[in-house]
């Protein structure tokens, strides 16, 4: 395109390329565009196939696939409320524990930490994301679970008057909702922290300096100048963490107990949408309805994480870009690295 500029001004025809000379350019352009189209098409195709495969179970059970409380393989009834509720409970635990710690870490690293310790500490937090989920599962089964049960028993007995927490008492055993939630909290921590740090770094120094100049203490500066500015971005980061928690499979299947019932308190065994797929997948291979139900669980999971991610992106974008129009280029780069931070 730009090469045409010289010929348009008619400086010299020497610069004009022969049709043959432009061919590689055209090929590259078309090729790269086709690749991008193909990848989008591939995702759409997968999605359609997933819907097709899960239609058996969805047609048979309808809405009770999500709201009915009866997941019984022997009777071929697949009402998935225990799975949905297990997913929601464990993700909620993960957010309640993980997000405050992640935001505290991000605030400490960006606002308070000595400059020299900042990079190594940040890298250590990021390394939490590098540990594979199966390793967290292994650790949860053999270390965290057994060590946590006495504490859970004590907690359930001491606070037995609180609904959903008390009740189990001495019957509490190792795989349960809380252990799964705690493992998920650890797993979402690096993502939420990385995105929060990214967002906090975009708070203009003027805002902070203004707060300090007015006599604010460090904490008052954080509360009045930093947090309000960064809130949408942090919310988006927390939601990306939520998406991660909802979809996590292998760590959860190992520590949630895989019991297809709705636990009536925090320390009972349960199930989750992702865990059921991994756990029952091989036995379902020869039963069309069962595998269709598992595909439907996958579809619900896919749609759920898609929605959570779309909302999260909206928040993160608003947090990193919307508030400062003049620096569009920098904002672009920041939101790009935010996107990769989730997986890095």
């Amino acid at each position: 395109m730009e090469a045409n500029v010289t010929t348009a001004t008619g400086v010299s025809s020497r610069f004009e390329r022969t049709p043959g000379g432009r061919l590689p350019d055209q090929v590259l352009r078309v090729g790269l565009t086709t690749l991008a189209v193909l990848i989008l098409g591939l995702i759409a195709y997968f999605f359609v196939r997933l819907i097709g495969q899960s239609s058996d179970a969805l047609n048979k059970f309808g809405l009770s696939f999500i709201f009915g409380n009866d997941w019984d393989i022997s009777r071929s009834i697949y009402h998935g409320a225990p799975l949905v509720i297990g997913t929601l409970i464990t993700s909620a635990i993960a957010l309640i524990i993980g997000v405050p710690v992640a935001v505290a870490t991000a605030l400490y690293l960006t606002e308070l930490c000595p400059r020299r310790a900042r990079a190594p500490l940040g890298m250590l937090v990021d390394l939490l994301a590098a540990v594979p989920s199966v390793v967290y599962g292994l650790w949860g089964v053999f270390v965290l679970g057994p060590k946590l049960v006495p504490a859970e028993k004590w907690f359930a007995n001491t606070f037995s008057f609180i609904p959903f927490i008390g009740g189990g008492g001495s019957s509490i055993t190792a795989p349960n909702y809380f252990i799964a939630g705690l493992i998920l909290a650890i797993m979402i921590l690096p993502i939420v922290s990385a995105i929060s740090r990214e967002v906090l770094a975009t708070v203009p120094a003027e805002n902070k300096e203004a707060a300090l100049a007015l006599g604010a203490t460090r904490w008052e500066m954080i509360r009045m100048a930093v947090l309000p500015y960064a809130r949408p971005g942090i919310t988006g980061g927390a939601m990306l963490g939520l998406g991660r928690a909802i979809g996590e499979t292998i760590a959860v299947v190992l520590v949630i107990g895989n019991a297809a019932t709705i636990g009536h308190h925090l320390f009972t065994q349960g199930y989750s949408l992702a865990a059921v797929i991994a756990n029952e997948f091989s036995e379902a291979a020869n039963q069309p309805l069962h595998s269709s139900a598992l595909f439907a669980a996958g579809l619900v999971l896919f749609v759920l994480t898609l929605l959570v991610n779309i909302i999260a992106r909206w928040f993160v974008r608003r947090g990193t870009r919307g508030m400062r129009a003049p620096e569009g280029g920098a904002g672009e780069a920041a939101s790009g690295s935010v996107a990769t931070a989730g997986r890095a």
């Binding site: 199966v134 390793v135 053999f142 292998i250 997986r343």
Partner: protein, 295 residues
Amino acid sequence: MSASSPATPLSQISAGRKRRDSIMRGSLLVGTGIALVPLILVIYYLIDKGISAWTSSGFFTTDPTGSFFGDPGGIRSAIFGTLEIVALASLIAIPCGIAVALYLTEYGKEHWFANLVRYFVDVMTGVPSVVFGLFIYIVLVVSHTGGSGFAGWKGALALALLMLPIVIRSSEVVLLLVPSSLREAALALGAPRWRIIWKVVLPTARSGLVTGSLLAVARGMGETAPLLFTVSFATALTGNINGLMNSLPLEIYTDITNPRDAIVARAWGAALTLVALVLILNVVARLISRRSSMT
């Protein structure tokens, strides 16, 4: 400030505000400490339980025997299986990812379709890995494409799908950092676009592209769920990617559920191996990116 303070003293910070400030600063520090506890604990237990497995005879040189009694065997086939699958996945995901990133930065720019691609790539990073496994299972495994149901190359495809958005996003960020003055200079010299991309854009961004790709590889290496539905599990060492294969994550996953102590010990050893591989990739990636940011 020192000149004005004797005449008009700034309002004193009250003791209450000071206390509140130090309490909150303290709790932020404590929060950071709490965040690091799990990392330390995981690494501690991995080393504590994994090293003894590493030092047991034939841990790296024999394959799992698959039998419940007797010698459980080592993890040789798991290591090679993971390396084969991840290598194949990288061969697919890295070139495709960089190519799409090139489309976004060099051709698409702010075109609506480029923005659509960007958006879906963003959203794809949040799709759970188990869903990618299901995709490949439905499309390739059930239909016995290629003559066998579960196969190594299908697992590699699932991992590639998972790595693709990471490669695209990190590459795009790096490619955007290539100064447009370099591109314009090459254009002014009469170079065609494809040569600019090949000779100017890619070499300039090389270290950043390598870093992003390595992080994606590290990510793919640790994934279990996609392999569970696509490669399944085998004990033997094989170079045949059109059949069942062993891999480190699945070796760990199957060993965890085994009641025998010796096999659980192998899971710890395999986990230490996997984490070591992933951490090495992470550290190398970060070293490369640090070196490039200094020059």
